[in-house]
């Protein structure tokens, strides 16, 4: 599969986390891969599957506690894993470069951009004076930073997130590396920014021929930017091959399940989460995916499964590759939402941040019908979260009003009557910070019962909490656990159970899935859609992810710079957007089934 001339050849890489006084926790096992000149290799998988660890180990970087147990990683024949720290420093930033996920934290906030670009240039190439300066300016120009000369004197916080990532890329390519490792380089950026960065990367790879490893959880994105793909699960590559192989239909049940859990912005279809959780370490004597696989047979759990080469140049680690399961992806039928009047009536809301003069929201008006799910999409800074906070009474608007069931609401939640507060519940973006870490699940979910549900007696409380947990697909045995003992997806479902405990008529969701993995996101979307349909709850679903909104919302509102750009029934909006901004947003979304390369 790999020729001797490939710039970076990884063989049998096994990595473990050291555990104090215990057995090492093997997190990556037997990874083989080769990065080819001028090609992007995509490495996909959910969080914790070992993809970042693999990428870093491949260039010889050992994070604290990480041990490389076996394997070689050869850069032009030199095994990087056998080099001393001092020798490796001569390669890093020079012939091997790395771009971290979040440039806001990966660029040093206290050092000017120019100096950060200059450091590898001075160190590895010995540039100084005018040559150094010329190269700095040239690099910023290459990544399309406007006014490079003055940009050199600025600090990272003076650039937007997208520009910061461009700068990080400029530093990485400064010394003309042979190998470039990108670790989730566009995660957390807006879709339009993401597509521009992807295009830039593609352009740089084509121009410089650098062999690139692109790590991402986003298969759809990788399918548009990479030449070849590898999917990791529990520290092993379970499927790899040319991108065309994946577009034609992946062979491994995990890859397929992963794709089913990804919402699509192209078509309205239900998403299905993958039941269970991935193992936290490598499973050596069985197929690691077997407990979650619906094609599992006895042989899957009896010995380790080999990665077997297929006819189309791909390789799959599965005994039942290419067999299709019976589970099918449903297409959601369009629910008519005209019945009933407006439950929530938002009239001409304008808002600004305290102390600032610029408006975050200007004249936002819309209604939400009873039982309807309204999606609110927009890029970061479009004011969509502030809008939700205004409705919830957490951010008093400067003008405009919110009516609930025909009744005008006070601007501040504390001034609203108790019944109204119970009828309107909010779930926040970050599940790690929105649950009180000192309260058990029983206390967290039981609290709104005491506050808002006079129909539930103290004696009934535990039973009702268990029912609610069951509704959000959580097992009853987590009742007495604390948030720190739960995964991100479980925490978010506890948040949902808590919100539904008050029997709300409106549920406000602020980016509730953006901190979660796709398979977990799918479960959360399923839960919200199911309970809302069953109880007739209206949902206002704020998200930057158009695909998620298309999956869940009956109607959608597109926001930009604090204004509504366009609104209408989701299907109509996504099929035939009228406003140029909506069209641009839709065009920027990578879609797995589109299969067009952003080159």
């Amino acid at each position: 599969m790999s020729g001797q001339s490939d710039p970076l050849v990884v063989k049998d890489l096994t990595v473990a986390y050291r555990r104090r006084g215990g057995v090492d926790n093997v997190v990556v096992a037997g990874v083989d891969m080769a990065l080819r000149r001028g090609e992007i290799m995509g490495l996909a998988g959910e969080s914790g599957c070992g993809k970042s660890t693999t990428a870093l180990a491949a260039i010889g970087y050992r994070a604290p506690g990480v041990r490389i147990l076996t394997g070689t990683s050869a850069l032009d024949g030199t095994d990087l894993l056998g080099l001393s720290a001092r020798q490796l420093r001569g390669f890093w930033g020079n012939r091997l470069s790395y771009v971290a996920q979040n440039a806001t934290t990966a660029l040093n906030p206290a050092i000017r951009i120019g100096e950060q670009i200059a450091q590898p240039l001075r160190l590895h190439l010995g540039l100084k004076g005018d040559t150094l300066r010329a190269r700095q300016v040239e690099l910023l120009g290459q990544v399309h930073i406007p006014a490079p000369e003055s940009a050199l004197r600025r600090y990272p916080h003076q650039f937007s997130g997208g520009q910061q990532q461009r700068i990080a890329i400029a530093i990485a390519i400064a010394c003309g590396p042979e190998v470039l490792i990108l670790d989730e380089p566009t995660t957390g950026l807006d879709v339009t920014t993401q597509s521009r960065i992807s295009a830039l990367l593609r352009e740089l790879v084509t121009k410089t021929g650098v062999a690139t490893l692109y790590v991402s959880h986003d298969l759809a994105l990788l399918s548009t930017v990479a030449d070849r793909l590898a999917v990791m699960y529990a520290g092993e590559i379970v499927e790899q091959g040319p991108v065309e192989h994946f577009l034609a239909g992946p062979s491994h049940p995990y890859t397929r399940a992963l794709l089913d859990s990804v919402p699509s912005a192209r078509e309205r279809r239900a998403v299905s989460g993958i039941p269970g959780r991935p193992p936290l370490r490598v499973v050596l004597d069985a197929c690691a995916f077997a407990p979650r696989c619906d094609l599992v047979v006895e042989a899957c759990t009896q010995s380790s499964i080999e990665l077997v080469a297929q006819a189309d140049g791909s390789a799959v680690r599965c005994l039942r590759a290419n067999e299709r399961s019976q589970r099918s992806v449903r297409t959601l039928e369009q629910v008519s939402t005209t019945e009933g009047g407006a439950l929530l009536d938002v009239r001409a809301i304008s808002a600004r941040y305290p102390g600032a003069t610029a408006q975050v929201l200007s004249d936002v008006t819309f209604t939400v019908a009873s039982g309807e799910t309204l999606g609110v999409v927009g890029e970061s800074g479009s004011g969509k979260s502030t809008l939700l906070r205004c409705i919830a009474g957490l951010h008093p608007p400067i003008s405009g009003e919110v009516a609930f069931d025909g009744q005008m609401l006070a601007a501040k939640a504390v001034r609203r009557p108790r019944e109204i507060r119970g009828r309107m519940q909010i779930v926040f973006q970050n599940p790690d910070t929105s649950l009180n870490p000192r309260q058990s699940v029983a206390q967290l979910v039981g609290r709104p019962l005491r506050l808002f549900r006079d129909d539930v007696s103290r004696g009934d409380e535990e039973r009702v909490v268990l029912e609610l947990l069951d509704q959000v697909q959580l097992p009853g045995d987590i009742l007495h656990r604390y948030p720190s003992e739960l995964s991100g997806g479980q925490k978010q479902r506890v948040n949902l159970a808590r919100a539904f405990a008050a029997k709300p008529r409106v549920l406000l969701c602020d980016e509730v899935t953006s901190a979660l993995d796709v398979s977990v996101q799918a479960t959360v979307i399923e839960v919200i859609a199911a309970i809302a349909a069953e109880t007739g709850t209206s949902v206002v679903f704020v998200s930057h992810d158009l695909a998620v909104v298309r999956t869940i919302a009956h109607r959608a509102v597109v926001m930009k710079d604090g204004r509504i750009v366009e609104q209408g029934p989701t299907e109509q909006l996504f099929r035939s957007p009228e406003q140029p901004y909506t069209q641009e947003l839709l065009a920027a979304i990578p879609d797995f089934h589109r299969g067009t390369r952003a080159s």
């Binding site: 020079n94 971290a100 990966a106 206290a110 450091q119 399309h144 937007s160 521009r196 295009a199 641009e584």
Partner: protein, 341 residues
């Protein structure tokens, strides 16, 4: 698809984000703000200090100065001569005017200008404080970074335990222990500060060694633990890994990349420690009989010498405030986000 040609240009749509929710001020304005608020604080300190030292009736003040047996008319005459019957605001204004022009009044006990007693002692105190700081800062920051770089190791753990033990010892215990070891058992250094007045240059330096060591040991555990904490945090930041992966050496990464970001919390912590140090100075001066303002402070309070007490209170206040002003300004230097660009 795109209608707006400008938007298509990469970077154009990713303009520098406009600051939201807060207003940016130029650096000079920030410094002005820091200095103004500290002047206000100082003003309040002076009001409180003046009030607290002027609670006694004019006759009592006169009696404290002239002696217990002095007759009533003499007391009244003394009080009148010094304007002690004037209303509070006027007395305050007169005192403030005198103080800022360097006149600290006359001591009630020695009948000499307070400045003559305070200033030579202030010199000793400043030598003690600055020498302790100059030694303690690099040693404890170095120790903290040393610990942070091997955080979790046995060396780190034993140093952590050691600093906790040291931190729980008050200055006078440390001082007495040092006197016992170096002064009594080994006999290398003087146990008090008589050398300062009567000895030669060597003896003068010698007189400072144990007091300085005491203060250094008192500050070391605090500053090193804070340095360790902020260095550990900074060393774990993604930009440190990114700097390593650009091939920079570990010293360069630690000091240039990590510590630059660890500095702001550290500066604040050090400022608090300097304030603590000034308290420690009073104890240490007393312990080693070192003629500094701390020792004078205690003596003046005991003797009811209110002009001296007031002056020293103000000097200590100015030192406290001065240190925090310097710290606040340093923080804006180290943190570019607090600066305008």
């Amino acid at each position: 698809m795109t209608t707006d040609a400008q938007r298509d240009a990469p970077g154009a749509a990713e303009e520098t984000p406009q600051p939201r929710g807060r207003v940016r001020y130029p650096r000079t304005w920030q410094v002005t703000k820091i200095v103004t608020t500290s002047m206000l604080t100082l003003f309040v300190i002076s009001l409180l200090a003046f009030f607290a030292t002027n609670l006694k009736s004019p006759e009592d003040v006169a009696r404290a100065a002239l002696g217990r047996e002095t007759a009533e008319p003499a007391l009244v005459a003394y009080a009148e001569e010094r304007g002690l019957y004037d209303p509070f605001p006027i007395r305050y204004a007169v005192w403030l005017g005198d103080f800022v022009t360097g006149d600290m009044g006359t001591s009630l006990t020695t009948q000499r200008p307070v400045a003559d007693d305070v200033l030579p002692r202030l010199r000793n105190t400043l030598i003690l404080a600055i020498a302790s700081l100059v030694i303690a800062l690099p040693v404890s920051i170095g120790l903290g970074v040393f610990m942070a770089r091997r955080a979790g190791s046995r060396t780190d753990m034993s140093l952590l335990v050691g600093t906790v033990i040291l931190a729980s010892l008050p200055e006078f215990i440390i001082g007495v222990a040092l006197i016992l070891v170096f002064g009594v058992w080994l006999g290398w250094l003087p146990v008090d500060s008589t050398g300062l007045q009567f000895g030669n240059a060597m003896a003068k330096v010698g007189a400072f060694i144990l007091p300085v060591m005491t203060l250094v040991l008192a500050m070391l555990p605090h500053i090193s633990r804070i340095s360790r904490a902020s260095a550990t945090e900074a060393l774990g930041a993604p930009y440190v890994a990114a700097a390593q992966l650009r091939g920079l050496g570990s010293m360069r990464v630690t000091w240039d990349h990590a510590m630059r970001n660890a500095a702001p919390p550290l500066v604040n912590a050090v400022a608090l420690n300097v304030v603590y140090l000034l308290g420690g100075v009073i104890v240490v001066e007393q312990l080693f009989a070192l003629p500094g303002i701390g020792q004078l402070y205690i003596a003046s309070i005991g003797a009811g010498d209110y002009p001296a007490v007031l002056s020293i209170t103000m000097i200590l206040g100015i030192m406290f405030i001065g240190v925090s002003v310097v710290a606040d300004i340093l923080v804006t230097v180290f943190n570019p986000r607090l600066r305008a660009g």
